[in-house]
């Protein structure tokens, strides 16, 4: 009973906020995509084609979570209808699919739209139409600008934040700080954002090299030789997981064994194991990887345990992507719940902007979404792979930062709050 009360209290807050807006604007028809019994949520991501590896599980996991919520009564009596479209990682297709979602499926909100170039083609439309654009799957910092994109809410910490966290950890770990540093990145938002982050944190490198995502099959021999010749001892790497696997394999071949520090989105262990086979654990041993979620292997954690249960019960593989997919879907469900029974687009945004600190999730860093700032998650802890190929958490503290062009990361403590009952919103 008490639970209902609290939720109602939340809903009332949201309702007041919505009401205030409602006074300013003459009475309008209900927002599209929401009825008494249903909420329509849209999403675009690569589900087929070269860029789909791994990522295709994110919407599948979200769907599994929404199915679960629907089975348990939905949100404020509404069932979630989740329409996930395949854009094959092609920006033009993303736009066409988003138009279909907006104009034909009449979605209430976008959730988990994937890819930087892809999202660039629709972010204006979504914002112009006041469509909530929640938890976009890109680490590019440009979309976190609340002035330009008031309805867009990132979730992933930006690559700039990740670079700053890496820089903080390197600088404050003597055995790493003494090493000769090099930087390798994937062209695109990875490179630009990460470079900016390192620059802001005052970190410089002996050698910097890059690659194009489309060219992974052609091999990384030249990049590796370049870094080996330069005598790199610590390599920070920003690229997708397939690239990480190729980099590790090529480096092993030529006997290049620096200390690796790899971006969180480029180090999905099951994918690396799939590509490198038996050699994977050996090559990944001692690799540093920052992360923002509770370690996926920390099965004692109630988030991890329950999300794993949910994912596996839905017939999906348990990996970082399904973990991440369920986690963001869980936060969205809480936001929808907090937006109250009179669900509007403004109400959802308002719920996100006023309650972000209260949403439960497997994240181990604060979620910053306010009326003046849309940063999403704001930091990382540092982890390291062990001989068994699992990522262990090295720091009990977290390293928080903004995407700003100056200033590094700050050390902080963050204590996770437990999940809601049965992971229901």
């Amino acid at each position: 009973m008490k639970k209902k009360l609290i939720v109602k209290g939340l809903a009332a807050t949201a309702a007041v906020a919505v009401g205030a807006v409602g006074l300013a604007v003459p009475s309008q028809a209900a927002d599209p995509g929401v009825s008494k019994t249903q909420i329509v949520i849209g999403s675009t991501s690569p589900q087929t084609g070269p860029a789909s590896a791994g990522y295709l599980y994110i919407p599948q996991a979200a769907q599994a979570y929404f199915d679960y919520v629907n089975k348990n009564g939905g949100i404020n009596g509404r069932q979630i209808k989740f329409v996930a479209k395949d854009d094959m990682y092609n920006p033009a297709t993303t736009q066409a699919q988003t138009s279909t979602l907006l104009l034909s499926d009449k979605i209430f909100a976008m959730y988990g739209a994937f890819g930087t170039d892809q999202h660039a083609t629709v972010i204006d439309t979504l914002n112009q139409r006041n469509v909530p654009d929640v938890f976009i799957n890109t680490g590019a910092s440009q979309f976190g600008n609340v002035k330009k994109y008031p309805t867009t809410i990132p979730y992933l910490p930006s690559y700039a934040v990740e670079a700053k966290a890496m820089a903080y950890y390197i600088t404050n770990t003597p055995e790493l700080n003494s090493l000769k540093r090099c930087f390798m990145y994937q062209e695109g938002d990875f490179g630009i954002d990460a470079s900016n982050g390192f620059k802001a944190a005052g970190m410089d490198f002996t050698t910097t090299t890059s690659f194009a995502a489309t060219n992974i099959a052609a091999g990384f021999a030249s990049q590796v030789i370049k870094m080996k010749t330069a005598g790199c001892q610590l390599v920070t790497f920003f690229g997708i997981t397939q690239a990480t696997a190729a980099l590790l394999a090529t480096s092993a071949k030529v006997g290049f064994a620096p200390t690796w520090m790899v971006t969180s989105v480029g180090s999905e262990p099951t994918i690396i194991k799939g590509i490198l086979g038996a050699a994977a654990t050996k090559l990944m041993n001692k690799m540093y990887t920052p992360s923002f979620l509770t370690p996926i292997t920390d099965i004692g954690n109630p988030y991890v345990a329950q999300m794993k249960t949910l994912v596996e019960a839905s017939g999906l593989p348990w990996n970082f992507y399904t973990y991440y997919g369920v986690n963001t879907a869980y936060v969205l469900a809480q936001a929808l719940k907090a937006a109250g029974p009179d669900l509007t687009r403004k109400g959802l945004l308002n719920a996100l902007q006023t309650n972000s600190a209260n949403f439960r999730s497997a994240a181990s860093v604060p979620l910053v979404v306010t009326t003046t700032s849309h940063q999403g998650l704001t930091g990382y802890w540092m982890g390291q792979y062990d001989t068994a190929g699992t990522l262990g958490r090295l720091t009990d503290y977290v390293m928080l930062a903004t995407s700003a062009p100056t200033g590094g990361a700050k050390k902080a403590m963050y204590k996770q709050v437990g999940p809601t009952k049965k992971l229901l919103p």
Binding site: A217, K228, Q242, A245, A249, V254, G274, I275
Partner: protein
């Protein structure tokens, strides 16, 4: 200097694989005057079959043999179903038809095996060899790839120039009507050409899979490089395909090493343009062929 040699060796490895795909493209061109955009798709598909055999039996040799057989059969199927009914397609028609086969095969592979990249264990170690106290970016596995490439080029060259089968294939491709009037069973020759190309593509796929990873789209970029190499080499020339396939690998490696990775495609484009302007029929083409 050692760095330069390192780059060359690294480029050689990727170049050899580009060369094998270029070789397969040349074979199809020689037998049916078609540029087979589906070639990398066929190679990918047969490599998945080879992988299944390797996983089931643990034997690389059996996997290779299964891949070769599957390559030949798939080549025949594509030829019989798609290309044979329309032997006189123009260039754009055949590009679209083979492109259609390519994306269908990729989608089919995704349906069967999923989109996640898979590993393919090499038969011999792929670790760089230690010579004179230094590890070089060349492994026994690379050497195996070079040997297979070299053997294939020599064997195919002999087949085409020294045997009546090769002569029949060339005649069938150049002028099917004259070939028929000479008593050659042209359709069989064309089908044989596709099967042979399928086999060479399968070899390329099985050889590259252990050094990269195997997924429905993992060979896409190689098609583009291989097509470039085959065109610059003169499309009819086996030696040209191999030389420029390896050359493309070397250019990519050197540009990436001494410049930026992103410059590599631009440099390849410039070299392609220069070669074609100087020799419109490709470097190893027979110069200007008859106008009519």
């Amino acid at each position: 200097m050692t760095t330069f040699i390192d780059y060359l060796l690294g480029g050689f490895s990727s170049g050899a694989v580009i060369a094998l795909f270029a070789l397969a493209l040349v074979l199809v061109w020689r037998s049916t005057r078609i540029v087979n955009f589906a070639q990398v798709g066929q190679a990918m598909f047969t490599t998945f079959i080879a992988l299944a055999v390797q996983v089931a039996t643990g034997s690389w040799i059996l996997a290779l043999l299964a891949g070769l057989a599957a390559g030949a059969i798939l080549g025949l199927i594509v030829y019989a179903l798609v290309l044979r009914p329309v032997q006189r397609l123009d260039t754009s028609g055949s590009i679209i038809a083979t492109f259609g086969v390519l994306i269908s095969l990729q989608a089919l592979a995704s349906m069967i095996w999923g989109g996640d990249p898979k590993s393919f264990a090499p038969p011999v170690a792929n670790d760089g060899l230690e010579i004179a106290g230094r590890i070089w970016p060349i492994s026994w596995y690379d050497i195996l790839v070079y040997v297979v490439t070299a053997v294939l080029v020599v064997a195919l060259t002999l087949l085409f120039t020294r045997t009546s089968l090769g002569l029949s294939m060339r005649a069938s491709a150049f002028n099917p009507e004259v070939a028929k009037l000479s008593g050659i069973r042209v359709n069989r020759m064309l089908a044989f050409g596709w099967a042979l190309a399928g086999v060479v593509g399968a070899v390329a796929g099985v050889l590259i899979a252990p050094t990269a990873s195997l997924s429905p789209n993992s060979f896409d970029i190689l098609l583009i490089f291989a097509f470039t190499a085959a065109v610059v080499g003169g499309l009819d020339s086996l030696i040209g395909a191999v030389a420029f396939g390896v050359g493309t690998g070397l250019v990519l490696a050197l540009v990436t090493g001494y410049g930026e990775a992103g410059d590599a495609p631009i440099v390849v484009l410039i070299l392609l343009a220069i070669t074609l302007v100087v020799r419109p029929g490709g470097a190893f083409g027979r110069g200007k062929s008859r106008a009519v």
